[in-house]
Amino acid sequence: MSELKQVRKIALTGDEAVAYAAKQADVDVIAAYPITPQTIIVERLSKYVADGELNAAFIQAESEHSAISICLGAALAGARTFTSTASQGLALMHEVLHIASSMRAPIVMAIANRALNSPLNIHCDHSDIMNARDTGWVHLFANNVQQAYDLTIMAFKIAEDPELLLPVSVNLDGFILTHSVEPLEVLSDEDVQSYIPHIPYPYRIDFDRPLAYGVMALPDTYMEFRRQLYEVIIKAPKVFRKASESFSKISGRLYNLIAPYFLEDAEIIVLALGSTVETLRYVARKFRGRNVKIGVVGLTMYRPFPEKEIADTLANAKCVAVMDRAYSYGGVGGPLYTDILSTLYKNGIRTMIADFIYGLGGRDFKLTDAEELFSKLVKSVEVGRFDQDIYWWGVRE
C-alpha cells in the first residue's frame, strides 16, 4: 500500500447510511415492517428514536400494507415521513403505492432491492421495484453506498418540492449495497437541515379547515385526476436538477438524471441500474485500455424515464446493450430494455440492441461475466448484428 493520503471518510453499510440520512433529515414519522435486507435501516432508526437522538414517531406496523398506509396518513397530516422495504414487502404495499402518488403524499421510501418469490430468495434483483414501476412514484437508483446516502437526502428535497409533492423511492441493491461496508462522506446535521428545512405541506389535514381526501371519482372526472398525475410527474427531472444543484453546493457531489462514463467516442454503450453500473465501469476502463470504444450509462432516475437524455446519449451508438435485473414474463423483454427500445424508436435512432438478463436472485455478476459480455458485444459489432435479442447472461442451460 502507498503512503497514506487522508480521505476523511466514514465507514457505513448501505443500510446504515440510509438510516443516518433519514435521521439527519429529521423525519417526523417512520412506519415500517422488518424485511431482509432492509431491516437494519429501520432497526437503526428505532434505536435513534429510543436513544433520543431523533425526535420522531417510530411505528412498527403489523404489515407493509399498514406501514405504507400509516406513512400516507402521516404525510398528508404534514409530517416528514420515511419507510423502507423490499421484495414481498413492496408487493404487499402495492395498492397503497398508487394511492400515495395520486394523493400527492411526499413519502420517502428506501427499497433494498430483492427478488420476489417463488422460489423464496432474499438476494438482490430488481423484480420488486419493476413491479412498482408504474405507481406514479419517482424512482431513483444508487450505484454505491455514498449515493444511497446522498439520494436519500435529495429524495426529501424532491418529494417535498411544492412543484412536485410526490413520493420518491431510493433503490439500493439488496446485500450488495445494503450490507456492504464502504467509505463515504457525510454532511453535517446543520447542512442537511438547511438543505431540507421543514416546509409546511400545503394540503395538510387540518381539523379547522376540513377537506375530503381520497375521494371517489366517476368516469366524468377520474381521467382528469390521472391526467394531473401525468402532468406533475413529468416535472420531476426539473425538480431533480434543482435539488441536485443545491445539493452539490453543500456536498461537492453533483448528480444528473443519468451517469455517463467514457461516452465521448463510444461505439458500444451498455446501460444498467444499481451497483452493476460501477462493476461495468471498472471493466469498461480495462477494455478502453485495449482501444475498445465502450461506454457505460447508469440511470440515477428511472421514473420518470429520462428519455431525452438517453436518446441524446445513444444517438450515435453502433451497438446498445441493456442490462436487466428483472424480466417482464411474456413481454417483449426486460423492463429497462423495452424502455430503451421505445426511446430509440420514438427518436428515430436505428442501432443494434440486445437485452441481457442477469443477476436474478442475487446471482453474482462477476468481473468475468462483464468481460465475457463486453467481448460478446465487440464480436457482435464486428458481424453487424446480435444472434439473439434477449440473452440470459450467466444462466445454466
Partner: protein, 185 residues
C-alpha cells in the same frame, strides 16, 4: 488493490472481523469495502466474506474469486486449506488457524510462491479471554503481515463495536496474535 477472502463457520465472527478490518482501514484514510456472502444463516454453516483494500475508490460490486489473501478462521477448515484456497493468487498469502500443530502444514499442494502464516488462535484467546475466539486472533496476524491498519485504529473500532471487558480482552488477543503469527516454512 488487495482482495481478501475470509472463511469460517457461522458464529465465529467471520463477517464481523472483515467488517472491523474495513472500518479500521477507512478510518485510517484508505478505501475499503467489505461484504459477506450470505448463505443459510445458521450457526456452524460455512460462511464466506470479502474485504477489498485500495488507495483509490473501489468500483467492483461482486465477490472475490482470485484473492491476494485467504484467511481461514475455523481450525477444522484450516486443515482443509486446499479447499478454501481455491483461486488464491500464485504469490498470495494464506492465514490458517492451526492450533498446536503450528508447523505441521503440508504446503506441497499449494503454488510455490504462496506464503502460509499460522496462529494458535485457541491458545491465545483462552489465555487472554477465558474462551475460544477465532476471528480477532486471525485479524491480529493478518495486520502484522499487511503492516496496516495500525493496531491503535483497530482498537478504536473494537471499542465502538464491543463493550466492557470484551474490548480489553479482544485488544489483548489482537496484540498477542500480532506478535505470535508465524510464517510457515
Amino acid at each position: 488493490m488487495i482482495e481478501i477472502r475470509w472463511h469460517g463457520r457461522g458464529g465465529q465472527g467471520v463477517v464481523t472481523v472483515g467488517d472491523i478490518l474495513a472500518r479500521a482501514v477507512i478510518l485510517e484514510g484508505r478505501y475499503a469495502q467489505h461484504f459477506p456472502e450470505f448463505g443459510p444463516e445458521r450457526s456452524g454453516a460455512p460462511v464466506k466474506a470479502f474485504t477489498r483494500i485500495a488507495d483509490e475508490p473501489i468500483e467492483i460490486h461482486s465477490g472475490v474469486y482470485n484473492p491476494d489473501i485467504v484467511v481461514v478462521i475455523d481450525p477444522g477448515m484450516s486443515r482443509d486449506f486446499k479447499l478454501y484456497s481455491e483461486g488464491l493468487k500464485e504469490d498470495g498469502m494464506l492465514f490458517l488457524n492451526l492450533g498446536d500443530n503450528i508447523s505441521g502444514v503440508d504446503k506441497s499442494t499449494l503454488p510455490l510462491r504462496v506464503k502460509v502464516y499460522g496462529l494458535n488462535a485457541k491458545k491465545i484467546s483462552v489465555e487472554e479471554a477465558g474462551r475460544p475466539i477465532f476471528n480477532i486472533p486471525m485479524l491480529g496476524g493478518l495486520v502484522k503481515v499487511l503492516r496496516m491498519p495500525s493496531l491503535d485504529i483497530i482498537e478504536e473500532v473494537l471499542s465502538k463495536r464491543f463493550s466492557g471487558e470484551l474490548v480489553e480482552a479482544n485488544i489483548r488477543i489482537l496484540r498477542r496474535a500480532y506478535n505470535e503469527v508465524k510464517l510457515i516454512d
